[in-house]
Symmetry: C2
Subunit: 301 residues, 2 copies
């Protein structure tokens, strides 16, 4: 494990954790009040969201190496929501889990510095990794990369997103013949080339939706050393057959996220017959185990 | 003034305010602890930031129609910062000012809905307008546009940003011969075409940096009905000669932001000789008046 100034490389840390748990997946903690069992309601949003998340974490932390927290669902509830966000993050840290904040932040350099400090610095939420939008070009991303190097953190840059209209701009063919997302992928390689750890992976990762298997496959080929964070599995329609393209041939290099399919499994037909609302966390555990099994089985073929 | 279901069109509301105050500019409330006079420090960040902002607002609200609040500088301080953000917004509303939150939010549809609710809905911060990043394409922006129509709000979409490396992706020439930012500009026109108010302007606005006058000029020509929010004036190097291209020939259609040049005017050489730290708000007032004068003079030529 390469350690510079006592700081562990994020890519090494993430891969060590996925290997140790034999599970390259993460759970998305994206609470929606309408999908939380009634017995948890009654208090304020801080309490309801944290109690819900805590039960999910307690039921799954021995299965998954990492959790992804989508801040939009907390921001929606202003200060009360951000308090739940912070409590959740602190609890995940206490459980020694890798915490990825999905915030897709982006701005000009001096403002990006403030965002980076908010999430990656010891004075901020101090999580392991943050997602970022590349539209500003390198000077809007450099503050995140610099802090990631300094504090042993990672960033995941949007390259090809999982939604239908990601085609609108990301798939534009440039004069050079490349698509825009391919150019951004190349730049991610370049930005991260001096940030590699012992595993050979860099701390500048890539977001590619599971809903675009062809693009996953072609990006994986040209970006062998960037870790892919793959959303879109489950509720958004990405299947295991698609997801598998996110991994390198040795079965490494990707982490697959599932949010709704795990945390709200208790509302899916296949689980709701067997679990009562009070057992939502047990349904989440079963869904997390099923996902792990599905991924490992596909990777061993 | 077109009012549908009792909801006033945001473009009409903004232009009415800029005309009434004869000032197409807004002040950016982007507090940085190191630039705040010492006499305001001592309490927590909520108190320090709000006290600072309140003194700026009290000293300038009779000059400018709108304020832009960059959330990154508040997010940096987690819950304490967001409390200052909320107090500032509520105070601006009490003063009947137009509040633009600069957050550049972006995500897939269901997540964008949560962000949109956070800022534009009556249950959220309920501000007048929000900035957004277009990388996801229309389905990531539609939730913001829908809420803007429903609640009488506006959005400003990043088209050409003010930073040096905005060239890296935004200026890529597409196979069609257009640049990426030009394509996004066209899409902004299209997305907003059914949202025009009595003034003819749409509620889907555009962000174009003052640091790119050539691009400002060409975009203004092809986007006559989108309001331009123009950052980059002052500290970032955009001059009045550049800014003027943001306006239509009738002198309408743009709002120019200045953050550091106004709120930290007391630290600029030209003001620091005449104002003590305790008079920082008076320096801000003078800088706001100077900006108004400069804009009006340039527009009348």
């Amino acid at each position: 494990m390469i350690i510079s100034n006592g700081v562990k490389n994020f890519a090494d840390k993430l891969l060590e954790a996925t290997e140790k748990m034999k599970n390259p997946s993460c759970i998305g903690l994206d609470p929606r009040i309408e999908d939380i069992p009634d017995f948890l309601k009654g208090g304020d949003i801080t309490e309801t969201f944290f109690d819900f998340n805590k039960m999910i974490i307690d039921a799954t932390y021995d299965i998954v190496p990492a959790f992804k927290v989508q801040i939009a669902f907390y921001e929606k509830y202003k200060v009360e929501g951000i308090k739940a966000f912070e409590k959740t993050i602190n609890y995940l840290k206490k459980k020694n889990k890798i915490v990825i904040v999905d915030a897709k932040r982006n701005d000009i350099g001096p403002t990006a510095e403030a965002y980076s400090s908010a999430y990656l610095s010891p004075e901020g939420f101090d999580v392991d990794a943050l997602t970022a939008n590349p539209y500003f070009g390198i000077d809007g991303l450099k503050p995140f990369i610099d802090d990631a190097i300094k504090y042993g953190k990672g960033i995941f840059v949007l390259v090809k997103t999982s939604n239908p209209s990601s085609r609108e701009f990301q798939d534009q063919t440039l004069k050079s013949g490349k698509k825009l997302y391919e150019l951004i992928g190349e730049k991610v390689n370049e930005w991260g080339k001096n940030t590699k750890g012992e595993t050979g992976y860099q701390i500048v990762g890539t977001i590619v939706g599971a809903t675009y298997p062809k693009e996953l496959k072609s990006l994986r080929k040209v970006m062998p050393q960037s870790i892919f964070l793959v959303p879109g599995y489950g509720a958004q329609g990405g299947t295991i057959k698609d997801i598998i393209f996110a991994f390198n041939k040795d079965g490494e290099g990707a982490i697959v996220n599932n949010s709704r399919g795990i945390i709200f499994a208790w509302k899916n037909e296949s689980y709701s017959k067997r679990f009562r609302p009070r057992e939502f966390h047990l349904a989440a555990r079963e869904a997390a185990l099923a996902m792990k099994k599905e991924l490992l089985s596909a990777l061993s073929n």
